[in-house]
Symmetry: C2
Subunit: 251 residues, 2 copies
Amino acid sequence: MEAFTVDEIPLVKPGDDIAAMICERAGLEDGDVLVIASTIIAKAENELFSLEDITPSARAIGIGKRDDKDPRLVQAVLDRCSECFVESPVMLVQSDRAHVCINAGVDDSNVENDLLADLPQDADASARSIGERVEEITGCRVAVVVTDTNGRAFRLGQTGVAIGLYHATPIYYWRGKKDLFGYEMQISEEAVADEVAAAANLLMGEGSGGNPVVVVRGIPLFTEEKTSARQLYRPDNMDLIKKALRIFKES
Amino acid sequence: MEAFTVDEIPLVKPGDDIAAMICERAGLEDGDVLVIASTIIAKAENELFSLEDITPSARAIGIGKRDDKDPRLVQAVLDRCSECFVESPVMLVQSDRAHVCINAGVDDSNVENDLLADLPQDADASARSIGERVEEITGCRVAVVVTDTNGRAFRLGQTGVAIGLYHATPIYYWRGKKDLFGYEMQISEEAVADEVAAAANLLMGEGSGGNPVVVVRGIPLFTEEKTSARQLYRPDNMDLIKKALRIFKES
Ligand SMILES: Nc1nc2c(ncn2[C@@H]2O[C@H](COP(=O)(O)OP(=O)(O)O)[C@@H](O)[C@H]2O)c(=O)[nH]1
Ligand SMILES: Nc1nc2c(ncn2[C@@H]2O[C@H](COP(=O)(O)OP(=O)(O)O)[C@@H](O)[C@H]2O)c(=O)[nH]1
Ligand SMILES: [Mn+2]
Ligand SMILES: [Mn+2]
Ligand SMILES: [Mn+2]
Ligand SMILES: [Mn+2]
């Protein structure tokens, strides 16, 4: 397996054609996995906003005071989530657009002026439109994985995760396959799309590297099937940790 | 970045010299990251056990009945954890030896006969002894990451994570570094060791592939510092999700 950055991507602006930017700079091959940071998709899709346009509610002002946070940012997060599991010291929420994450995925780093970047409205759709455009330009059929950087339970630090997929396998099911000694394997579901997102995030970094696009080559992530990052999200009614956080909040 | 398996590793047996096995089969270079599945370390260190030697307690029998699980396996998990956060439908526990995980990391796949594999007693120490031995044999200074496959909150499927480190950076701190537009970055801690573990796990797989060792080359994970996988574990008193699970359990 090999992973490399697509170099010299400029600062992305609303309306930019990310697929064309990539194809001009990378020699793509059939079966490549194109991993793209959600931040540049948000920029291209003009999912940017300014705190100056936000009026915080009393609740946002309260949370902001307690946690020493800009109440307008708090309001922006509240506006973008269907449920807030943890309010303090960080806001862990179910974002409206994608996954469970801190601050509803709103990002203030690597965005110009005083703008903030939202998550893409529908990162699967973004992945699809980039993947289709790549095929149109190059004739290559690639898998696309849109990523964000996200924290985890029980462990410190953040890792890259998948929030949008196009022709990319989300989970590989080992159940029923044989192990080394011929025994049938039990529940074993490898979240391969997240593993690819994590691998690519090593090359992207979080800072001024300017590396929002990574090509991963040599792993069979491409699939003919229609896939979605939602296949990686634990259904609400099967999520014991969400349940526990709800009860904790009431207590 | 490049990642490749070390091929033709035999079935590992108690007492085997894993470092020698690897050095005979891979052309290692300074700065390489050697990623090793904990299962083969457990085998080499003879951390294997049989259910036949376990007598389940009343509690284990109760959990086993409810969840249709072998009560001896339940007992093995209870014996290996300091705290059980979730009992059913899966046992999510604080393992005595390493991380928060399902079944205290006890594994029945890829182990011969009816044996089960424990986590290594001290995976940092295992990583160190392999790393030192590699240096002795080849003269190369490598980073070592011992991995296990682990589930996550809010998301489906499992990914590779780091549970033992030697000369490998656990977390890269972006805080204080500049972003693309020259602004100082806020809290941003990239769990690079886990990202490397995830990348390597793509090549290991969970089944009969026989690929317990992966070399990752071309990323600056090697560090002169003494590091530990414990640096990746969220301290108990800072862990809101553990707190919520404790209250949920009592409710
Ligand atoms: N070339 C270029 N790189 C960008 C741009 N925006 C972000 N990046 C880079 O993309 C990578 C990931 O950025 P990050 O803010 O962590 O994105 P996120 O993980 O999607 O929230 C970093 O290397 C940034 O420097 C851009 O407009 N142009
Ligand atoms: N060659 C070889 N491969 C092994 C051995 N034990 C496990 N593996 C392989 O190591 C990889 C990871 O195995 P897994 O059971 O998922 O390990 P874990 O993630 O540490 O629990 C798979 O490709 C297995 O086939 C062994 O003794 N010899
Ligand atoms: Mn982000
Ligand atoms: Mn990021
Ligand atoms: Mn395991
Ligand atoms: Mn595994």
